[in-house]
């Protein structure tokens, strides 16, 4: 498989996964609104932070309110929106059509046009849910189509690599924002914090929901929903397909099928050790931020090793 093509396939998978995750986040946030008492301010800005688009956002908007954030993440050309993610997905798919199943390209193409025509309708609350659901299920349909039609060769390995790394990365971002910004932006003062306590559960529940993790959490974690268990589940559960640990393990398995993977494997093992380090209960009181920062750097480093090993050689 050509290095250039491997790179495009990998990014196609990453962008598709990112589009789906962004749609999930927007959906959950929009629903969360309805559960909160009137007068509480929801930290819409944290959504921008999760996707890493603060700079582009601040250049465009003064205030991070529902309308501006949804517009930014859904329907604008700014490098962070679902529409842009899908355009990137399509472009990468269009330039690798010779190796991808043709139905997959057709579905990606269809989804892109659907989003292009309908994305701005999601800025208003009414049609938003339906729109986001449609995008999410199309993304899943495409992933399913690839799983059901692609031979387990190099091309599919790069699809899985891209998807898993993107998931791991996104989950750390959600945990990051979930454990700080989300809470602090809602509680205005200490008194308010006490009054807000019942809503903590709702928040953590929605963090789980953004990853479709609520049901699985309930089945596997016997405790009621609480911050520590949610963070542990999303970071360390080996079986849940969106947890960081699960995705790193998936990557380890995928790597066995690829040539010259030693350096990448070492980096993934290192990242796995870091996820498992320390007791989360303790970390949540102090040092979680640093812990997540470390983790994100290690994940970025996995990407770099992947690129060095397979995309850039011979250049």
């Amino acid at each position: 498989m050509l290095s250039r093509v491997a790179e495009r396939v990998y990014w196609q998978a990453r962008y598709l996964e990112r589009a789906e995750n962004t749609a999930r986040l927007l959906n959950v946030f929009s629903t969360l609104l309805l559960d909160l008492p009137t007068g509480t301010k929801l930290g819409w800005r944290s959504l921008v932070e999760i996707t890493g688009g603060e700079e582009a956002f601040d250049a465009r908007y003064k205030q991070a309110v529902e309308r501006s954030v949804v517009k930014f993440l859904l329907a604008e050309n700014n490098g962070s929106s679902i529409l842009d993610m899908l355009a990137h997905t399509r472009e990468n798919a269009r330039t690798t059509r010779e190796i991808m199943p043709s139905e997959a390209f057709e579905k990606i193409n269809e989804l892109y046009y659907f989003a292009k025509e309908n994305a701005s309708s999601g800025i208003s609350r009414g049609p938003r849910h339906e729109l986001l659901e449609a995008i999410i299920s199309s993304c899943q349909q495409i992933s399913g189509l690839m799983a059901g039609t692609m031979s387990r060769g190099a091309a599919y390995s790069f699809v899985r690599l891209g998807r898993s790394l993107e998931r791991a990365d996104m989950t750390t971002r959600i945990v990051d924002v979930g454990s700080f910004n989300l809470l602090s932006s809602i509680s205005k003062s200490k008194d308010q914090a006490a009054a807000d306590e019942p809503y903590d559960n709702i928040l953590w529940m929605n963090v789980l929901r953004s990853q479709s993790a609520y049901q699985m959490y309930r089945q596997h974690v016997k405790h009621r929903v609480n911050g520590e268990d949610v963070v542990t589940f999303l970071l360390r559960d080996e079986e849940f397909p969106r947890s960081v640990t699960h995705n790193l393990i998936t990557i380890t398995k995928v790597l066995h099928k690829l040539p010259n993977q030693e350096k990448v494997s070492k980096q993934v093992e290192k990242t796995l050790r870091i996820v498992g380090r320390g007791k989360l209960g303790k970390l949540m009181d102090e040092g979680l931020l640093e812990y997540i920062d470390d983790l994100q750097l290690e994940i970025a480093s996995v990407h770099k090793k992947v690129a060095d090993t397979w995309f850039l050689p011979n250049k």
């Binding site: 498989m1 050509l2 290095s3 250039r4 491997a6 269009r94 059509r97 043709s102 193409n109 040539p259």
Partner: protein
């Protein structure tokens, strides 16, 4: 409202469906009566369905406009064009014959040059051609074949007879659209396929693969075949990717290749991997910056030498374009007699060479009645259509011809045949041409039909998709 074949009128032109008001030609009868069974609204619904299919299937071509590249949906008219199998069999023999003769000529030009010694064609005419590559002299590709893939443009005149308009031997495109047009038609008119005996077109990628395998330098069960594209911004990128996909070949750009010790390798995730056959969709001059255009970033340095040494096969071979020239074209009937000892099966359009004094005089005196073409342009650019030109344009062309007679030839304006297209309100006749694709290596192959291009504007002869032309599915039908 339904199609009324009695009021459908193609005037003095040969219409391929309707022979006289209300009467369809034999192979088209089923189609004509089927179209009558639908209302215009139903036909328009089918048109919308086809457009949607083309959009989601991502059948596109790239146009350069306003300083950027735009990926456009492929223009398609849903009413198929019907050609009788018997007529086609004869035509396809003519196409194979023509390509055989062209390959003999190219091989002769780069080797023995017998044709010059026998004074059939002036040597200077060839050696001064912009497509002659002196670097190729003395090279003997497998099967003595240089042009492995040829797109031959055919037109019908007012009597319905097929004429050869030009031979595209450099990097002819359009075959993927021929294949996709059929796929769309199957979605839109599945009913029609029940009662018609239509020759399938789908085997082309297999035939192409077999031909490319046959020219592999070392006979291998699985030669490494790649399609070399200039990249995603090329107007035919869709086709490059499509053919690679259908053949299971890698689609490479120049940057994916590297030449070491006169062998060509591609950069893969496993490291370097040797390439045996390159179906190149890049013009000669961009293939290898160490030999041709030094500025080229599309090709790969050392490629030409690897080919000369016989370590990699190139299709078409560099230099094959020497026969893709409007001037050389006029000699092809003579090539057929000279090299093959056969009579040409397909006629050329009568042509006047401006390099010849007598013929040039005729051209200059009749400019307003003729079509003037430069030797080396493609895509319909740089042409003069005399009867439709302004006085200023006529004067300009007279000046150009006198300045550079070698570069021009002229032909009478052929009254191109028509076929019906679906307009917004009625079904109307429009002019068409046909581009079949011919393959040659150890054996020859011709597509069943080809790509029909149609001038969507009333009265227009311009069928090029870059200039507003459309396309149609082309059916070769047997007696059912």
């Amino acid at each position: 409202m339904r199609v009324n074949w009695k009021t459908y009128n193609s005037g003095k032109f040969y219409d391929e469906i309707i022979s006289s008001p209300g009467y369809a030609r034999k192979p088209a009868r089923g189609l004509a009566s089927y179209l009558r069974s639908l209302t215009h609204e139903e036909l328009l619904q089918k048109k919308t369905a086809a457009e949607l299919a083309i959009k989601t299937m991502g059948i596109s071509f790239t146009v350069y406009s306003d300083g950027e590249n735009i990926d456009r949906e492929w223009p398609f008219d849903i009413i198929p064009r019907v050609i009788a199998e018997k007529e086609w069999n004869h035509t396809s023999l003519g196409l194979k014959q023509r390509l055989r003769a062209l390959n003999c000529f190219i091989h002769d030009v780069y080797n023995d040059q017998k044709i010059f010694k026998d004074k059939l064609i002036p040597k200077e005419l060839i050696l001064n051609s912009g497509n002659f590559r002196k670097e190729c002299v003395g090279i003997k590709p497998r099967f003595d074949t240089w042009a492995h893939i040829c797109g031959t443009d055919l037109i019908r005149d007012h009597t319905g007879e097929f004429f050869v308009l030009e031979d595209n031997l450099r990097v002819p495109s359009g075959v993927s659209y021929m294949l996709e047009n059929r796929r769309v038609t199957k979605r839109v008119f599945p009913e029609l396929f029940e009662n018609y005996n239509i020759q399938p077109v789908t085997e082309y990628p297999d035939q192409l693969f077999d031909m490319l395998s046959a020219i592999s330098p070392e006979p291998k069960e699985f030669p490494e075949i790649v399609v070399l594209t200039p990249g995603v911004y090329n107007s035919a990128y869709f086709e490059h990717s499509y053919l690679a996909q259908r053949m299971g070949a890698e689609l490479v750009e120049g940057g994916d290749l590297v030449v070491e010790k006169d062998r060509v390798f591609m950069k893969t995730v496993d490291g370097l991997s040797q390439v045996d056959v390159i179906y190149r969709r890049i013009d000669d001059l961009f293939l290898d910056p160490s030999v041709f255009n030094k500025e080229s970033v599309l090709g790969v340095s050392g490629l030409f030498k690897a080919w000369v040494k016989g370590n990699v096969a190139l299709a078409n071979a560099p230099g094959a374009g020497v026969a893709d020239d409007k001037i050389i074209y006029t000699y092809v009937p003579q090539f057929i007699k000279y090299y093959l000892g056969e009579e040409p099966i397909l006629p050329n359009v009568p042509s006047y060479l401006c390099i010849d004094k007598v013929q040039r005089q005729h051209v200059l005196e009749n400019l307003d009645k003729l079509v003037v073409k430069p030797a080396n342009e493609s895509g319909g650019y740089g042409m003069l259509i005399g009867p439709q030109a302004s006085k200023k344009e006529l004067e300009e062309f007279a000046r150009r011809i006198k300045a550079d007679p070698r570069n021009y030839m002229a032909q009478p304006l052929i009254s191109l045949s028509t076929v019906p297209i679906l307009g917004d309100r009625i079904v109307e006749p429009r002019h068409v041409d046909l581009r079949p694709f011919v393959l040659q290596a150890d054996k020859s192959y011709v597509t069943a039909g080809g790509l029909t291009r149609v001038a969507m504007v009333k009265g227009s002869y311009i069928v090029n998709s870059s200039q507003g032309g459309g396309s149609k599915d082309t059916w070769i039908v047997g007696d059912s």
